[in-house]
Symmetry: C2
């Protein structure tokens, strides 16, 4: 008896869990805007008539996770009682079912709570698909025929920037050298940067100690949170520079703190730290604002993306020459499908993708997307690094492996996002022990 | 004993209601994208220690209203147990409390479900404020000192387009002629257009009959839904033209059906109907797309806004010269406060505002905003019309009054949004009679 095929596997039920880690008790993840995050997730498990499950989550910051959970519960109607093949045979139609629900759509479209929920569900489907195919997600994507892969992409609202035939040409042309790239990735891994040294709530002593530890572990790219008092931002920046020197890369991140004019002024001031990029200088919705900041604060490179709501905003950030670095998010947009569109757009405009990670499970997710991007889309690791934050990985069955500041290629089937059952129970909100015993 | 003052009034509780009207049973409101709307609202009532209440709602399409209701319930923590003056003394700080909640913000920011909920709550506060002051909302706004009015506006993320001093200059300069404008408005009302003739699901006979009826009632502006089969769109358009002639204005509305390239092609085809504007040709997120459509489908005028998520997108639509008509929505953005910002932006860029209405309560809301815009901001009614749809007004205590195709200026204190208690009970979802008896 062989493994079941896609059309033999039926999704019988979806379990949705409101999962919250009380990280605000330790000031983990604090920045200029997000002061007290409880790293959380709207988590779902696709149960099937086989031994396989599909897991997916969307990262949130605590309060409001219940809204995403409720939206996710609503969307489960589009997968329950379906065979896996009925979804994977037309992944574009599947995405449209989720994003075009005639009444639900009014609440977006394709943004905010309902889109965050869509991302969790779509990622769970890909996790299941990859497990059934016995491959890690990056490999499933990389080994898929380009024409079939593109059937997962919704080109609606982006075909003025990249059409399906154009995307196909791009993917076909970039097949050359695949085996060499795979060998390189397996040997060296994918470069990463650490955000763990420079959160907002940390003392000078803590920043210095964390920098020293990170250097000892082999890190060469470091990110610092800014957007506080200008003098203090520079002071903290110089502390990091004293520790890491001027050869290693330092990025600064304002988490949307400023308006356009203030962002230009502050970015110019921070230029004395020689930042490798300035991240989220202003609202993620402000395409023209980013373009102006980029023009007027040259040569500082501009980055954004973790809060960019969908492929349509990313398209315009590229069209307007507003960014030097595209920071995709694995679950704010509609999961793997929409991120395929975003990787293709970035390749078309020749802008490097450096994914947003950290939070809960984002590192586990994005390593697959960057590996696939290197193997099949951009085919480059130049100027590309994946964010890494060393929190909460112990809750994952297949956590990321970092060596010498690089992500090691995952090998287990799936999307690496499954959380241990014990953690799902303990951190379930509000009844899990982590919350009920603290109340 | 006089009326209580703002600091004597305390908000003691907020009741939140999931209100849904089963309009899909009659194909009311169907268009190219929204096929089966059940016109709905997340509705709230601010209860106080006085005889005053504040009412607010956000319009939705049925499923998912529960998400907005739940978000609204969460946000009530920012008003309960506060005096009204503690809010109205710093309305900008109040808005920021709602939009900057450190954990909730992740789900937006300032977009989608949480922003829709914010709009309902802020509008309820203004309704309460206007009732206590004994004036209709338009009058409260128009009689407020400009400097004080601007304290309600969050200039964050828009001050590169309009600064607070610049907005103050604009308002001060436009005080001239106020009394004349008020007299004109009281005498003639504000021009309107009807969308009731051209919904998607209507037969040719029904369209002809509705056009004849509308002409008899004095309507001179008509809107037709397009975005279906190209030949059929033109056929329906010519039916309307046969009925209304070529002197009256006809607008066409595609409800985001097309990508940019298709929108250009289809808008050019529809030009033979001599449309007064082309509405929502593509995604509301696509600023650069609208700009390109406008350039390449000239001379057809381009309109959008009912799905524009916040002032930041509107700012860019204006900066990019992407629209000829700005269609603000009274509750998709953060209520009166954010709409003040949007009216100021439109005035700065000299683009007419023609509000989105219809749905539930949108006509009741926007008549106040347009009246204020005429009195104090744009000071013009040229090329300006408010949408009107003749549905569900019977549920309101102070429904709009239309005469000869014009909105008559409301006179009762408040924001005209209160719904009869009987309707709130009957259409409460899912337990009200309208639903429980149909199940």
């Amino acid at each position: 008896m062989g493994a079941p095929t896609l059309n033999e596997i039926q999704i019988t039920a979806v379990r949705v869990i409101d999962l919250r880690f009380p990280t605000s008790r330790e000031h983990i993840g604090s920045d200029a805007v997000n002061k007290d995050p409880d790293y959380s997730a709207a988590y779902c498990i696709l149960e099937t008539n086989s031994g396989f499950e599909g897991h997916g989550l969307t990262f949130t910051l605590g309060r409001g996770t219940d809204l995403v959970v409720q939206a996710l519960e609503y969307l489960t109607r589009y997968v329950v009682n379906r065979t896996l093949s009925s979804i994977t045979d037309d992944l574009r139609a599947f995405v449209r079912q989720l994003t075009d629900d005639t009444q639900f759509r009014w609440l977006g479209p394709e943004k905010g709570v309902i889109h965050l929920a869509t991302g969790a569900l779509i990622n769970a489907v890909w996790d299941l698909y990859a497990r059934v195919e016995g491959r890690p997600l990056w490999q499933l994507l990389a080994e898929m025929e380009p024409a079939r892969l593109l059937q997962a992409v919704d080109f609606r609202y982006i075909d003025d920037a990249i059409s399906e035939p154009e995307a196909l040409d791009l993917l076909m042309a970039r097949r050359v050298g695949y085996a060499d790239r795979l060998a390189l990735l397996q040997k060296q891994g994918y470069p990463a940067y650490t955000t763990s040294v420079g959160w907002f709530g940390y003392s000078e002593e803590k920043i210095r100690r964390l920098c020293k530890e990170a250097l000892a572990e082999g890190w060469t790219y470091f990110k610092l949170k800014v957007g506080g008092d200008p003098v203090d931002d520079l002071r903290r920046g110089h502390i990091v520079r004293e520790e890491i020197g001027w050869t290693h890369k330092l990025m600064v991140d304002a988490n949307q703190k400023w308006g356009v004019r203030e962002a230009i002024e502050r970015t110019r001031q921070l230029a004395e730290l020689d930042p490798w990029w300035m991240e989220e200088p202003t609202s993620p919705d402000d395409i023209l604002g980013h373009a102006r900041i980029r023009r007027e604060a040259k040569p500082v490179r501009i980055a954004t993306g973790e809060h960019v709501q969908n492929r349509i905003i990313f398209k315009q950030l590229l069209q307007a020459e507003a960014i030097d670095v595209l920071q995709l998010d694995s679950c704010r947009v509609a999961g793997v499908n929409e991120n395929l569109a975003i990787l293709l757009l970035a390749a078309k405009f020749d802008i490097p993708v450096c994914p947003h990670a950290g939070g809960v499970g984002l590192c586990e997710y994005v390593q697959h997307l960057s590996a696939f991007d290197f193997l099949s889309v951009s085919t480059s690791m130049e100027n590309r690094v994946i964010e890494f934050v060393d929190h909460l990985h112990e809750h994952f069955l297949d956590p990321v492996v970092i060596r010498n500041g690089r992500y090691q290629l995952p090998t287990r089937p799936g999307y690496s996002i499954e959380i241990w059952k014990e953690s799902l129970t303990r951190f379930a909100y509000p009844k899990g022990e982590a919350w009920s015993q603290h109340a």
